[in-house]
């Protein structure tokens, strides 16, 4: 029996027809999602594109991957279903039995066997997959297109396994022919089984397979992503070998993640963040932290969910929701109907429970895909996230640990200011003075940027420092001290602006703002424009240019280009999403370019000849 009750949905429901045509029946896994037809559509889209549509690898090759992973995950539902499908495609019971046993005698060619071993490795220990695994597949004769599809099929396998674990549908066929013990042979002989060289893996940029440039102008799904998110995540850019798969994923994502009829968007993003963190996926952690910030959650709260959601500010029921999702998403063998019941006891509706299962399943699709393709993060993962929630074998170091630049101790940030902060919190005034001296320019520039008036900013310095001292005991070390100081400076500046009654909002408009801004000055600049004015003249020019920018652009340009913070840090300090920061940064820079142009073009009269 399913864990959840079912609603009525006619057999003529579009996705049902597609499945009946392909498999001859409607799998119980789909029936178990009748409460939310849109998530059935999502699964149908993914299955149609990834599993059924013709590509570089054959249908039988795909089904072999799905069955082997289902068996490896001990997923009786998928094993029963996928065995039947392979049988209908002409495989003998003996061949299917070999696959279930992970046996070499399954009559596989060397490339097929290597590919299968790779997929098993990816499904089991995604963080340990590295570029060398891909090189090994190429050496075996696999084309990039085939490798790419094998990764996506593995991701689909993880989607289906997570979904069926969470929903507990009755097998469509029985009894499953699982071997009594888990297949635990090492994943392939050398070179596949050899330990990845993590150092090298960390420094070689992904994606592992080529990703031809695809223009938003000709590929409508990219235009839509650009429009709604403000940028095209590397997750999609890395999959341009098969634009149709990108399209299917975007359609499925829209149905799973954007509706708010069951869980809220914030709840869903929290699930995606917590489960990605549990799966040690720095790509997805970074993107979901950023999305949560875009949805209005303070940086520190999102970071805390990535490190340990039990220590976050979430309500008890939302924390339980994440417990549920993490248990399911990490494939915990203890997961059972009791977990579903517990959520319902806490007040979650069957629709919400169903959606949390689907979101977790989709998360595992994305986690598997991004690790399998070695996709580079769009943004830096939160500085406190070091992949410490290791549920994998501790012997398997993760690429993520190598990628972290900051060293962390028990989930809190190693901040160069930490010692002084502790002393200042203990009441030592000298320590406080040393701290503020260290960050004077940052505070002053933040104030100037927001107030748009250097003299006013000097006045506001005193208030900022007094306020910082007053509140320093409340600083918990979840963010960097400098980030916290900037937030104090921002608050002080905003108070002043309010008293001036000409508030210039830093928040209005997220991505779409001024998209149509186009540069006007197109005369070439001199080779060394800085040489046609003295240093102090140049500085005055820049300062005047900055002061006439709208505050929201000025803040971003000053923190990025003058304070030299990374775009990720600027986003954290201002509580903006990274795409919003990038949009404003470009706009601000282009406005400054227009401003400077008359003084530095090749024909400028004062130019040195």
């Amino acid at each position: 029996m399913n864990f959840l009750s079912e609603a009525q949905l006619k057999d003529e429901f579009g996705p049902f027809i597609a499945f009946r045509d392909a498999f001859g029946f409607i799998p119980n896994l789909l029936q178990a999602q009748r409460l939310l037809p849109r998530v059935i559509e999502a699964q149908a889209m993914l299955e149609t594109a990834v599993r059924l549509r013709e590509g570089a690898i054959s249908r039988v090759q795909k089904e072999r991957i799905l069955l082997s992973i289902a068996a490896d995950q001990r997923n009786t539902y998928c094993v029963a279903l996928d065995s039947r499908v392979l049988s209908s495609l002409g495989l003998s019971d003996g061949q299917i039995g070999d696959l279930l046993n992970g046996s070499r005698q399954a009559g596989l060619s060397a490339p097929d066997f290597a590919s299968l071993q790779f997929c098993l490795k990816l499904s089991r220990h995604a963080p340990s997959v590295c570029r060398q695994d891909i090189e090994a597949l190429r050496t075996c004769g696999l084309e990039d297109e085939s490798i790419f599809e094998a990764v996506v099929v593995t991701a689909l396998a993880m989607y289906r396994c997570t979904l069926s674990l969470g929903l507990g549908p009755e097998p469509d066929f029985g009894p499953p022919k699982l071997p009594s013990t888990r297949i635990d042979q090492p994943l392939g002989p050398t070179p596949l089984g050899s330990l990845p060289d993590l150092h090298e893996a960390a420094h070689r940029k992904g994606p592992y397979v080529p990703a031809p440039y695809l223009s938003p102008k000709t590929f409508a799904p990219f235009a839509a992503v650009q429009q709604s998110r403000g940028f095209i995540p590397n997750f999609f850019r890395a999959q341009t070998l098969r634009p149709d798969l990108v399209e299917a994923q975007l359609e499925a994502m829209g149905r799973i993640l954007l509706s708010q009829d069951a869980l809220t968007r914030v709840q869903k993003e929290c699930i995606l963040l917590a489960v990605s963190a549990a799966n040690l996926n720095s790509y997805c952690v970074a993107i979901h932290c950023d999305l949560l910030r875009g949805l209005g959650m303070p940086s520190e709260d999102g970071d805390q969910i990535a490190v340990d959601h039990h220590q976050s500010n979430l309500s008890e029921s939302d924390a339980a929701l994440l417990d549920f999702a993490v248990k399911l998403g990490t494939g915990d063998p203890e997961f059972s109907r009791a977990d579903v019941v517990k959520l319902q006891t806490l007040g979650f509706t069957p629709e919400q429970v169903l959606e949390s299962v689907v979101v977790t399943a989709f998360n595992n699709f994305a986690n598997t895909l991004s690790m399998g393709l070695g996709i580079e993060p769009d943004f830096a993962p939160p500085p406190v996230f070091a992949g410490t929630k290791v549920h994998l074998s501790p012997a398997a170091p993760t690429p993520m640990q190598q990628r972290q630049e900051v060293v962390h101790v028990s989930g809190t940030l190693q901040d160069a200011d930490a010692d002084l902060v502790a002393q200042a919190q203990g009441g030592q005034l000298e320590a406080f003075e040393a701290l503020v001296r260290r960050h004077t320019q940052l505070i002053y520039r933040t104030l100037t940027a927001i107030l748009g008036d250097p003299i006013d900013a000097q006045d506001a310095m005193q208030d900022t420092l007094l306020s910082a001292f007053k509140h320093i005991s409340g600083f918990q070390g979840r963010a960097k001290f400098s980030t916290w100081l900037v937030s104090i400076a921002r608050n002080t500046a905003f108070q002043r602006l309010r008293s001036r009654k000409n508030v210039e909002s830093l928040d209005e408009g997220e991505y779409g703002e001024d998209r149509d801004f186009r540069p006007r000055q197109v005369r070439a600049w001199q080779d060394n424009p800085e040489q046609c004015h003295s240093k102090s003249e140049m500085r005055q020019l820049v300062e005047r240019g900055l002061l006439q920018l709208p505050a929201k652009y000025r803040v971003v340009v000053m923190l990025r280009d003058i304070e030299q913070l990374s775009a990720d840090d600027v986003a954290r300090q201002l509580g903006l999403s990274v795409p919003a920061v990038k949009t404003r940064l470009l706009r601000g820079r282009l406005m400054l370019r227009e401003w400077l142009s008359p003084y530095v073009t090749a024909t400028y009269k004062g130019a040195a000849q």
């Binding site: 004077t440 320019q441 540069p519 900055l546």
Partner: protein, 80 residues
């Protein structure tokens, strides 16, 4: 070759040196053939350099010191 509009869509990331090799190749091909975009890129790059090296809004030490001294004096009075 990509259009100017397509070039501009990737421009922010290109300026931040944050594009994949495939995208970079397309952008640089465009730059080599489009004077307007070349000027835009060249001048934007120089703008970033000029702004970064300008030391704008750096508060001189002789302004910083009295401010901090005043604050510390206030805090000491409060504390004692």
């Amino acid at each position: 070759m990509i259009t100017c509009e397509e070039f501009f869509a990737e421009f922010a990331d290109y300026l931040e040196n944050h594009v994949s090799p495939e995208v970079r190749q397309e952008l640089e091909l465009h730059l080599s053939q489009c004077r307007v975009c070349h000027v835009l890129y060249d001048s934007s790059r120089k703008t970033v350099k000029i702004v970064s090296e300008s030391n704008s809004f750096e508060l001189p030490q002789d302004v910083v010191d009295p401010i901090i001294d005043r604050v510390m004096a206030k805090l000491r009075t409060k504390g004692s």
